[in-house]
């Protein structure tokens, strides 16, 4: 008890002394800090700071990275006399069609726990969009990689702020900076940008952290025991002094993951969920519980988004899922030039998750029969009992709306047959995922299923905007 009091007293006194010193003399800096590794935040002022001459490490030239476009420029500077100059090549440049790499601390690494952001000034020869700026990639473990994607340049100097998702993690960081730039935003026309006054800073004006996993969505999935599911779509968002939010992608190492039911699933530091068991009977409710909810946090802030995982023992033939291995298909957006079809869309990524998204839907197909000699094999679903599909209607739902699912055996051959099942508007919800497990025996007319080759979705425009996910056939073992 005594010790605690003393310690607290000492700390508070120190604080008081610091305030006095800083305020009246304005000369001492952060020298009081005791760090295991160097805590210098500067990376480039008029020369690289605390880095060797070989601080730039390019991406592998075999990947198309151009190693010729990197240098310094004594004719351009935001402050002082020099800046870093990056010449972004055109895709056909024989030296490489894009440019990118990292600035690496070749020493033991730096203690960045006292900072809250990487900041630098950037100016472009044109208002191109740079694919990635960031830090934490060291070409070793890349454990604490953070990226800010799609940064639009100005032809004047602008300050870029890349918040650190959780500074307490960066005890020994070697990845000082990363960039990757191509000409996607300039139709292949090369351009130049300059970087200056690059450093880790304690801004103090970054607040309101809002971490997210799975794009911030609450997702559900079924997975077999002894399989794994990665938690993806990891981001951290901060509000800055300008009132704007900045969202960076972050590696799992910044997050603490948690499972609600260790009898079903565990999750490791890399955000990999392992399905460990079938669950067990809850002694309080007498119910068999085979689900685990995976959540995450950064510091003491709970991340938006979760994964509710149901342990199953299924035979699965998956057409579209992030959980199960998918069989090859011809397309997820089978369109027909018949003059009637209006549907647009197909497979997209939403918040790090693969989904299928259709707009202007009247009808559309997923084909997997080997269209135009593609070599895709029809699916033998003889042993399967159910079809699983998640449906989210991205508009209002009326009871009279419908979403008809037609499954075809021997598609486009002389022995083609089809079975149909209709989901009514009553079973769907606006802007909410609804899961369906439909017995194949409920597909009226589907008298054979040994060579399934297509699924056609029909709404006749009663539902025009819809997203689909987790489409697979299965049977329980």
């Amino acid at each position: 008890m005594m010790k605690n009091i003393k310690l607290k007293y000492w700390k508070t006194t120190l604080l008081a002394i610091m305030i006095m010193t800083v305020s009246c003399e304005r000369e001492l800096t952060d020298d009081i800090q005791i760090a295991t590794y160097p805590s210098n935040g500067d990376i480039y002022t008029d020369a690289p700071v605390g880095l060797t001459d070989e601080f730039f490490v390019s991406f592998d030239p075999a990947s198309g990275a151009n190693t010729q476009g990197f240098g310094t420029d004594d004719n351009e500077a935001y402050l002082g006399t020099s800046s870093i100059r990056i010449d972004v090549p055109t895709p056909s440049d024989p030296d490489g069609g894009y440019i990118g790499g990292i600035f690496k601390d070749r020493g033991a690494g730096r203690d960045l726990t006292g900072y809250d952001a990487l900041t630098f000034w950037v100016k472009g020869s044109t208002t191109a969009t740079v694919g990635t700026f960031g830090f934490g990639t060291d070409f070793e473990s890349n454990a604490y990689a953070v990226n800010l994607d799609n940064v639009q340049l100005s032809t004047d100097w602008r300050k870029v702020i890349i918040p650190i998702p959780d500074p307490s993690k960066l005890l020994q960081e070697k990845g000082m900076f990363i960039f990757a730039a191509g000409t996607q935003s300039t139709n292949g026309v090369g351009y130049t940008f300059w970087l200056d006054e690059m450093r880790f800073e304690k801004l103090g004006t970054i607040g309101q952290p809002r971490p997210a996993i799975l794009g911030g969505q609450d997702q559900t999935a079924q997975a077999n025991i002894d399989t794994t599911v990665p938690i993806i779509g990891l981001t951290q968002t901060f509000n800055t002094a300008s009132g704007q939010d900045i969202t960076v992608t972050a590696t799992p190492a910044y997050f603490d993951f948690e499972t609600s039911n260790p009898f079903v699933a565990s999750v490791n530091d890399l955000g990999i969920v392992s399905v460990d068991g079938a669950g067990e009977i809850n002694p309080e409710t007498g119910q068999f519980e085979n689900t685990a909810i995976i959540t995450a946090s950064i510091g003491d802030v709970q991340a938006a988004g979760s994964l509710t995982l149901s342990a199953v023992d299924l035979n699965v033939i998956s057409l579209f899922s992030d959980v199960f291995a998918n069989v090859p298909v011809d397309n997820y957006n089978g369109f027909y030039l018949d003059g009637f079809q209006t549907t647009l869309g197909g497979a997209i990524v939403e918040g790090g998750n693969n989904i299928i998204d259709y707009t202007l839907l009247n009808f559309v197909a997923i084909e997997f029969y080997g269209r135009e000699g593609s070599g895709v094999q029809p699916v033998d679903a003889s042993e399967m009992t159910h079809m699983h599909i998640d449906i989210r209607v991205n508009e209002n739902v009326d009871p009279s709306d419908f979403f008809r699912i037609e499954v075809f055996n021997n598609f486009t051959t002389g022995s083609q047959i089809a079975g149909t099942y209709t989901v009514t508007g009553d079973d769907l919800q606006s802007n909410t995922w609804v899961e369906f497990d439909i017995p194949l025996s409920s597909f009226a007319g589907l008298t054979a299923q040994e060579a399934l080759g297509a699924i056609i979705f029909v709404s006749d425009a009663t539902i025009a905007n819809v997203s689909l996910d987790n489409i697979f056939f299965y049977s329980e073992n």
Binding site: I5, K8, I19, M20, L203, T205, Q208, A241
Partner: protein
């Protein structure tokens, strides 16, 4: 013995807190050009530490309810979007603080609810030091305020003639800035006499900060965390000086309106304005 030790610890931290405050003032006084009036108001006449539970102490506080229509100023005169209620969802004393919460919900024809409390008829005075310790909410279109409004002599005088002293106003999209203002005849609304105060290396929504005025016969001094950042005198206003009569306190959290603009998709709801204390001092 153990208990006594604990007590000592608590007391020492309070003393140290005061010590820090003392050091702070010392710094302010380091400035040789400092000629502004400071802290003459030492008699504590009102202190609400919000240590209770439930509704704010009715010894000091009234609620204002609605969207301003009943008061004849729909949108409270500023096109504000919220409906003020006295429900605990919007105004609650809990955990040692007053919580005013702005919510996005359909209520009595408005799309947002929030809270507004005031000391009208309960704690009014001419001159003094008015101070509150507040942690602000944040986000586009969020408008928290701690301010004083002049007594209207039973409806015979109207705004802006009654006078308005805004100790602290903030636009939620400017998390490092607050403004201190006066409104009076010839200098009201957009023409108010105002000055911003910006925090360096800090924000108003991540911790508590102290906002106050020292208001005397011919001056109003504005301070944040002990830093005196503005003095407004009759020479500064472009009209009659209307600050020589009784004023009362208002604390509110508006949503939308002319000052902060409307909230948008980036605005996170609910938003909380947390008030640790309100203190009023008068001259000896």
């Amino acid at each position: 013995m153990l208990n006594k030790k604990l007590k000592v610890k608590i007391n020492s931290s309070i003393i140290l807190g005061l010590l820090c405050f003392g050091v702070f003032f010392l710094i302010t006084n380091c400035d040789p050009d400092e000629t502004q009036d400071v802290a003459k108001f030492n008699t504590l006449v009102m202190e609400d530490m919000f240590n209770g539970e439930g509704t704010p102490n009715d010894l000091f506080w009234n609620f204002e309810i609605g969207n301003g229509e009943a008061q004849g100023i729909p949108g409270w005169g500023n096109n504000e979007l919220q409906y003020y209620t006295d429900r605990p969802e919007n105004v609650l004393v809990e955990d040692g603080v007053l919580k005013i919460t702005a919510r996005q919900e359909e209520y009595e024809g408005s799309s947002y609810t929030s809270g507004r409390i005031l000391t009208r008829g309960k704690q009014e005075q001419t001159y003094g030091r008015f101070e509150a310790r507040i942690k602000l909410p944040w986000g586009q279109g969020i408008w928290p305020a701690f301010w004083l409004l002049g007594d209207d002599s039973e409806g015979t005088v109207s705004w802006p003639q009654i006078g308005e002293i805004d100790i602290m106003e903030n636009r939620g999209q400017e998390p490092t800035l607050i403004n201190g203002s006066v409104h009076g005849p010839g200098y009201s609304g957009e023409n108010a006499i105002t000055k911003p105060y910006e925090l360096t290396n800090d924000r108003f929504d991540t911790d508590f900060h102290i906002f106050g005025v020292e208001w005397g016969p011919n001056y109003i001094n504005y301070y944040v965390d002990g830093v005196l950042y503005n003095q407004i005198t009759p020479e500064d206003v472009t009209g009659e000086w209307v600050f020589n009569h009784d004023f009362y306190i208002i604390i509110n959290l508006a949503v939308g309106g002319n000052y902060a603009g409307a909230p948008n998709a980036t605005t996170v709801f609910p938003q909380e304005m947390l008030v640790d204390y309100v203190k009023v001092y008068s001259a000896n």
